[in-house]
Amino acid sequence: MRDMVPRADALTQLRRGVLEHCVLAILERGERYGRDLVNELSEVEGMVTSEGTIYPLLSRLKSDGLVETTWQESPSGPPRKYHRLTKAGRSALAAFKVDWAGFTSSVDQILKERTRG
């Protein structure tokens, strides 16, 4: 079975694939700044391998027009950069939710199917 993707790698790829949409989903609940996002994502095991990976991701989402940023004063130090969804971001998230529901139910179906006859 050497050609199968090792378990750790497969999970990593899955997480990578959904990470940006998870970020969009968290932002749908309200604007966040970088550290907030890292903390919330860390609640899902293995989602965040290192804290810094959120920043290149956010930069990409911003340059794709799905996220916009504002600076806000912070009570405890320098101003913070907050991220929030744009309209395009909301549409992308909505489309993903539909795709995800369809995809996961199909995969569940295949995993649950008992051998025929």
Binding site: R35, T49, S50, E51, G52, T53, P56, S59
Partner: protein
Amino acid sequence: MDSGAAKALRNYLRDLRAALSSLPRDRRDEVVEDIRLHVTEAAGPDPTEAAVRNAIERTGEPSQLASEAGAPPPAPLRFGAAEVFAVVLLAIGGFFAFVGWFIGVALLWTSRGWLTWEKVLGTVAPPGGLLTAYWLMFIGMGPDESCVTKSGFGPGEDVTTCTGGGGELADTLIAIGAVLAFAAAFLVPVFLVVRLRRRVAASRQKYSV
């Protein structure tokens, strides 16, 4: 933060900037700045060097962050053919109709293997490499004066023009220049080789997985 902490942060951001070098500049600057703020905040107020290093480790290796950004990792530092030719041509390229030296300079400056000040040193010490050193030696040993006498303007009206010379001071200066040029023409290429080899070895160590 103390100087050790500041230096650790500076080096980390420099490595990060290099790892992200294939991103467009404004995005790269934005990511580096975001991560600088993140690390600074994670390290806490007035952090020690240890606190900064911990914060850096939690934030992640530059190569890891670059792959997340979708930036392909920059090619590893190598002492390749271009670098070999650069050093050789800097030294002796002048003998190939002088063009060889210019090619050496071009290879030097387009290589990622040397810092800017090292490239400047390679270019000016001495310009033209060994050829310049030989030339200085040659004019230093040449005749002190050459005189030309033109006659025929009339009796007693020979005109003698002499060029060159300048006396012993000029000779001494040229001799010193020649010695320095020779020394530089040999030592600077060796220096460049040593610096690059050290750098290649260090980068292999750091990025080995």
